[in-house]
Every structure is written in C-alpha cells, then in structure tokens.
Amino acid sequence: MLSTTLIIIGVILLLAVIMNVSDSLLQIEAKKSGIDIEQEDIGIIPNLSFDGGGKKPAFAAGGSYHKLKQGFDIKLAGEATHDVLSNQSSTFAIRPMDYRGIAPIPKLFVEVGQEVKAGEPLFFNKATPDIIYPAPVSGEVVEVRRGAKRAISDVVILADKKITYHTVTAPDLTKATREELVAFLMQSGVWPMINKRPFDVVPAQDEVPRDIFISTFDTAPLAPDTMILLAGKEKDFQAGVNVLSQLTEGSVHLGIQDIASSSWLSTVNNAEKHYFSGKHPTGNVGVQIHHINPIRSNDTVWTLGVQEVASIGSLFTKGYLDTSRKVALVGDEFQSTGYVETYLGANIGELVKGNLKSENTRIIAGDVLTGRKVNTEDFISATTDQITTVKEGDYNEFLGWLVPIAPRPSTSGTFPNFLFPKHKFIADTNTHGEQRAFVASGQYESVLPMDIYPTHLVKAILANDYERMEGLGINELSEEDIAICEFACVSKQPLQKILRQGLDMMREQL
C-alpha cells in the first residue's frame, strides 16, 4: 500500500516537472517571437496570482495596481450598442429625493409657469440655504409633483427647443481661496453633485474631505462605457479634477479599469491613478476606496460620478453649467439598445417610447442591482446613466427550484453556467425562491472584494449594535457595494434595505 502511494506521488511529481519545463520552453519561444508574456497568458500553467501579490503590470506604472479576486459579473443580454438613439425628452425634472439628507419639502425659488434658464436655482434645503439646486435645462416650470405627506417628488420643467444657459464667471483657480471656490460651487449649483461618504449625503459647506475618489468605470450589469459617456468632454473632466484637487487636504484618486489603462484617463493631471482588474463590484467607488485608503471613523471622503465631474468642469471651461448627459438604454426588453444624448433629469417615458418589446416589462432607472423601479411618468435620477429593462417574473414555474427550464444567472455551481462562461442571460424579476433565515454559506464573502463580513454586519444592524456596526465597517459601505451580495443571497434577504437602516441609524448618532 505504501509503495503504491509512493509511486503515485512520484508520478505526480514527474508530471509537474514535465509541465514546468514545457511551460518555460513555451515562454522562451514566445519571447523569441516577440509576444509580450506579461500581457498575454502564454504557457500551459495558468497564470495564478493572488490578491495584491501579483507583479505590477507595465500599464499600471503611473499608479497603484489592485487585482481583486472576489466578485461576480452578471452577464445579461441587451448590452448597449454604440448607436445613438434618436428619442428625446421634452420634460425634465429635479427630484429632491435623489439628494439624501435634505428635508422632504425644500424651499422653492420658482413657481409653476415661471421661465428658468439652465443653471438657475430651482430650490434649496432650508437647513443649508447657500447650497442651491439648479435647473438642468431652460424652459417653463410646468408642474411641482408631490408625494406622500406633500413631500415634493419632482419639479418638472418643459424644456425650450434651444437651451439657454445662465452664464457664470468662474474664479481663477490659481488665485482663489478654498472659501471662494466653495461659495462659487454652491451658488452655481454643482455642490449637490458631490456625494459624501459615509452615508451618501450632500456634504456640508464647511467640510474638508480627506480625499476625493472618482471611479472611471462601472462593472454593474449592462453598465455604460465611460469612454462613450465622456466622449467630447475630456477637457471638462480635466477641469473638474483640477477644481476638486483644490478642495481636499489629500488628493483626487481616479480608479481606472485595467483595459482602459491606455486611454486618455491615464493622462489626467492633478490626480493619483489606481488601476483595477476584477469582476463586479470592482468598479464601485466604495470598493476602490477600501483598497486605496479605507474610510476609518471620523474620516469623510467625497465621491463623484464621471459625468458630474465633467459638469463641474464645464463651469470653468464653458462659463455655464452643462448638465448634458449620455444615458444608455440597455436590457433585452428594448428593441434597440444604445445611448441617448439628453440632460440631467430626463423623462423616462419619452426616452423609451416605441422601443419596448412587451408590456410586462420592468423599467429601471439605473442597473438591475441598485436601480429604481420607475414608470413612464417618472424621471431619471440625478446620477443615473443607464435605463435598464427586464422582464417581469410573475409566473409559477413547475419544479422551478429543482429543474429550471430557462437558464438563469447564478453565483453557485448548482447550475451548469460555469460550462458556458460567455453566455448572456435573459433574466427576469422572479425571486426564484422565498425569503428564509440567514444561512451563512459564504456566498456573500465570495462576491465582495472587501475585508468585510457582510453577514455579521447585517446581523449587527438588525441587533442595533452601533459599536459592532462601526467595527465591522458599515462606514465603508453603501448600498451599491453589497447589492451583489443581495443578488447572491440564497435566503433572499433585502440586504440593501437593511444596510440603509444601519447607515441612517449611524447618521442619526452624529
């Protein structure tokens, strides 16, 4: 018996030696023929490297490099084509509810019937009168919609055919003090585009952030391509980064995806660059902060989306607030996918008109993980850069849990999905099971590339244990970061909702 064991071990060793030698020979051959063996995966032994342990690739020379192991890409059918779709929206709305932390009934500057220019103030939050929320387009204020308890849900503007802008005189960045700059940003209406972490709120005016983080790529399902969103706005983006770098004690950090390393993003000045490779949620700014310089207690950092940075920059390059936005229409329920060129707060119904395949479709402002369910009357949120459609899943499926008929995305190996790594799924909104008690089978940890224990954090929130919540890293998280855990959850628990409860509890403590 012992001899058999020894023989087996010997054979394995021999095989390993043969593999190693032939792998080296292949690499030598590749070098001779001029193939970059760092970039291309040459050889028969798979290129294994562990989190952070791998050699820094050449493209990341100008910054730090982070390779994230955990994560999961939900591959859905209906990616955006590069087409520009012709649908246009004629009404636009600013939604006070998009800005967390402001009172439900803000003070309005305008009334129904009044004409406004793009960039002119629409309303302000009573607690912070200096921070104004501007009109995205010029036109007539046609409606002020109210929701529950008379809270203002939308301030609707019927846009002019030709947008006229409220012009501003930007201060000289080289001379202006931080106070002057802050006052200018607040009065010109771009302040609410800044997002403060922890808690995801509009920052207070006297607040100095430790660092400012901008993720320049989105790994969420069917997310739009940043290069397309920013096409033609490269100068605005650079100007925005220049302004932001004046507002922080630390630096502006750009998270750049490995495949975009040779793009113009690598040449942006006044910012530190950090290169990332990995699956979703690697593109989330929260995950990037965690790996660049994590948020500890009492830290505040700011985050911004790329189009928001360009809007801030437009004040300095163009002399007016440019709220133009590209929005991707994605999802298998669209007849044609692509990008529309519109402005912040566009009407959803007009953008998707005549493009839906069926009635029983869910329209989502945002992506399938974090977006908001909307109807055609609604408007896109302030930070939305995609509209996703997905079939409603209101059907019973015979033995659906055991022998599902249609393929569906899953993080588990109980579906033969791993045999078809390139397959694009047509998902629906069915929950595929009922809610159950938490069973910690490790699925959260395997999709969250952060040193955080989501199961325990969620339990701490449910138990109202403040110290534990903070210790387990609630301040580093936002709903979008654990959305992928919620997707993967076998117990079908509402993790994002629970996390927000916890964040609200922490915020009230301050």
């Binding site: 939900i74 369910k373 997905v390 588990s412 929950t431 159950r436 008690a437 210790g471 076998v490």
Partner: protein, 416 residues
C-alpha cells in the same frame, strides 16, 4: 385544467386550518416555484434558493444511500456465512437492505417533518428546508439495526430541543443529525455501541440460535419462489456462535493494525464492504459526493481540507507517541477506518452550525480533525470521535467567529 389550477383551487384557509395550510404551502412550493417578484433592492435574483441548495446535498448523498442499502444486506449474509461474494445473492441483499432502510427513512421523515410542520403552522411561516438534509443524513449515520422507536425519540429530541427551541432552521447551534445520533449514544448506549449492532438481524440473538426473518421477507420469498431464485432461509444461516460484527475501529482499539488486517483487507475498507453505520463505509462514494458539494459550492472546501489536515497531524503525533496498538496504526491508514470522510464532507460543513468566517472555517475544520482523532484513539468507551468532535466545535464555532471578527473590528477601530 393544469396542475397549477388544481393547486390554486384547493388552497385551504390559513386561519381555520393552519396545519393543513402549512402542508399545502409546502407541497405547493415544492411543485411550483413562487411567482413573487423582486420589490425594492435588487431587481434580479440568483437562481439558487435554499431548497435548491439543500437538494444538492441530498443528491450528493444518493450514492451512499445506494451502497449503504446493499451493504446492509451484504453484511447480513456474510455474518450468516452465505453469499460471501459481493455480488452473490444480489436480489436478496438488496431486498434485505431495503427492508431495513426504508422503515428508518420513513420514521425519520415522518417524525422530523411532522414536528417541523406543526411548528411552522404555529409560528405561521412556511416550512423551512433544513430538515430535508437532516432527514437524509440521519438514516446514513445510524447502525442498520437501530430500533425504530429509539430512532423516533432521538429525532424528536434533536428537532425540538436542538432546533425549534433555538428558532428553527438557520438558528440552531448543533448539527441536528448528529444531535439525534448523540442522543441515542448517551441515552441508549447499548444500541449504538458494541460489536453486534453493526450487522442487521443478529442483535440480541442468544448463542446457538439462528437469524430469523419477518413477514416482509416472507412476502418477497413468495415472489422469489415464483421467479425461481434463491429465497431468504434462516435454516441456511450459520448458528450464532460468538459471531463478531466488530468494525475495523473496534479491532484496531484492541489489537492495532494487525488485528484489523486479519479480518478486513485494505480494499474492503476502501470500498466499504465492512460493517458500520449505513452510509459511512464506502469511501469512494463519499468522496464523489464531497466533490459534488465542492464543485457546486454548496459546502465549504476549506472545512473539508482543514479537517483532513487536522486529523492527519494528530494521527502523526499519535504515531510518534505510540503508547497503545491503536496509536501505532500508520496515520494514513486511520483514514481507511471509520467515518472520517462522511463526517468531514457532510456533517462538519453544515453552514448553519459551522464557523461562518473563512478564517474561522480553517480553524474550525482543523480542530474537528485534531480533536476527533484524539477521541477516536484514546476514548476507551467508543472508538470513533467525529460525532463528539463536531458537536464540540459546533459549540465553539461562534467563539471562533467572535475572535475573527474582533480582529477585523480592532483593525478598523484602532486606526481611527
């Protein structure tokens, strides 16, 4: 009218007959996945739910079930001196195995699920899936001759005290299947230890008598008569005379590896044609099941691997000590005996009772292997340790997690 319409028509009233409604709900959600859609939060959900996850453990156990059934019959006839070849008397061995196993599975399911349904109805929630797995594991870890009433009592204890008292599936501290086994172990020690419990049909027979068959065997005998094949015949079985159904572990305890190999070959132990609990003897089939769990990511490979390492390390240490014949059994042979693989693959990896952090899983698994091997080799009363080691570590899994989490929290709070 489709099945779906029939289901929708017969739905009983939830208030008037809660138990009936719970039963209905369990049957309905078994037949049809619900038509509920996401509301708030994510808009699409993973195709995996708890039902699907649990059923994959059950599927992984099926080879053990098949082999276990046949091995009950095989051991019975070998003890009687008939059909010594593994495939000889195939139909008799299979039928004898089924006659022993089916009542055990039925009693397990009826008692366990019955209690689950009553509790679910009282609490007004759906029947949770946890017992599907427990109910399949319990028959596999019982000796084939376990009296059914003892089985029923132990399951009732495990489900009520071990699980429902803590709040049901997902809340229990100890592995439910092992709890039922340990209950028998301590409450009815003679039925689960000793030499004679591992082979069916021979327990409690006085010397000089022969094994006898019951009415079920009689029924099949009439069938076999028509077919003209061998029948169950107690007259042909050997007279009980000091027959020992000792397991390899019992032999190793008394006489070391020599005593084991006198009776069983290494191949026999590997393939599992030896006396033992129903599902734990065949190593290849358990490993196939374990592989399936790892590939589908249903169970943690970390626990399986670290338990193996822990057991190997302890066995090596015991080899070095070498005070008793059992300690001198070469460490790699320890894996051929007993139910280590079954325990590591299916018992230790229960996600509810194991450690929930990845670091914790390494520690938890290692200690199971390490402590289990100590119990196996050094405990004079009962030469097998995984049941006790796993329950012991179940108790401490929360503590292990606590320290892992404390370290994580300390890092965050300190640098503030």
């Amino acid at each position: 009218m489709g099945l779906l319409d029939i289901f929708k028509k017969i739905e009983p009233d939830k208030k008037k007959s809660p138990i009936l409604h719970t039963l209905y709900d369990a049957a309905f959600t078994f037949a049809y996945s619900p038509d509920s859609v996401t509301d708030g939060g994510v808009h699409i959900r993973d195709g995996l739910d708890l039902k699907r996850m649990m059923i994959h453990v059950v599927l992984a156990l099926q080879l053990c079930f098949l082999f276990g059934t046949y091995n009950i019959g095989h051991q019975h006839f070998v003890a009687g001196g008939e059909f010594l070849g593994f495939l000889e008397g195939f139909h008799l061995k299979l039928i004898h195995g089924l006659i022993q196993l089916v009542p055990i599975v039925l009693v397990t399911m009826i008692v366990g699920l019955g209690i689950e349904i009553i509790f679910a109805a009282r609490k007004g929630h759906a029947v949770e899936e946890g017992f599907i797995v427990s109910g399949m594991l319990i028959p596999l870890i019982m000796p084939p001759d376990t009296p059914l009433w003892i089985l029923a009592v132990s399951i009732a204890f495990a489900v009520i005290i071990g699980k429902e008292a803590f709040g049901g599936t997902g809340m229990n501290i100890w592995n439910v299947a092992l709890l039922s086994r340990v209950f028998i172990f301590f409450a009815y020690p003679t039925t689960i230890s000793g030499d004679q419990v591992w082979v069916s049909g021979y327990e409690g027979l006085a010397a000089g008598t022969q094994a006898s068959y019951g009415w079920a065997h009689g029924l099949f005998n009439s069938l076999f008569e028509v077919m003209g094949v061998d029948q169950f015949d107690s007259a042909r079985t050997a007279v009980v005379d000091g027959y020992s159904g000792a397991t390899p572990l019992a032999l190793a305890y008394s006489g070391g590896w020599e005593a084991v190999t006198e009776k069983f070959s290494v191949a026999q132990m590997w393939w599992g044609t030896i006396p033992g609990s129903i599902g734990e003897t065949s190593k290849p089939f358990i490993l196939i099941g374990a592989l399936m769990l790892i590939v589908t990511k249903v169970a943690s490979w970390r626990i399986m691997l670290s338990a193996t390492i822990g057991a190997a390390v302890m066995a090596l240490l015991l080899n070095a000590w070498g005070a008793t014949p059992f300690m001198e059994v070469p460490w790699y042979y320890q894996f051929y005996m007993g139910s280590f693989f079954f325990a590591a693959a299916f018992m230790a990896t229960d996600p509810v009772t194991a450690s929930t952090t990845n670091t914790g899983k390494w520690i938890y698994g290692f200690l199971i292997g390490f402590i289990g091997m100590i119990v196996r080799v050094m405990n004079p009363a009962y030469p097998e340790g995984w049941m006790l080691a796993i329950l012991f570590l179940n108790t401490f899994s929360a503590l292990i997690d606590h320290y892992v989490l404390e370290a994580n929290m300390k890092k965050r709070l300190q640098s503030a």
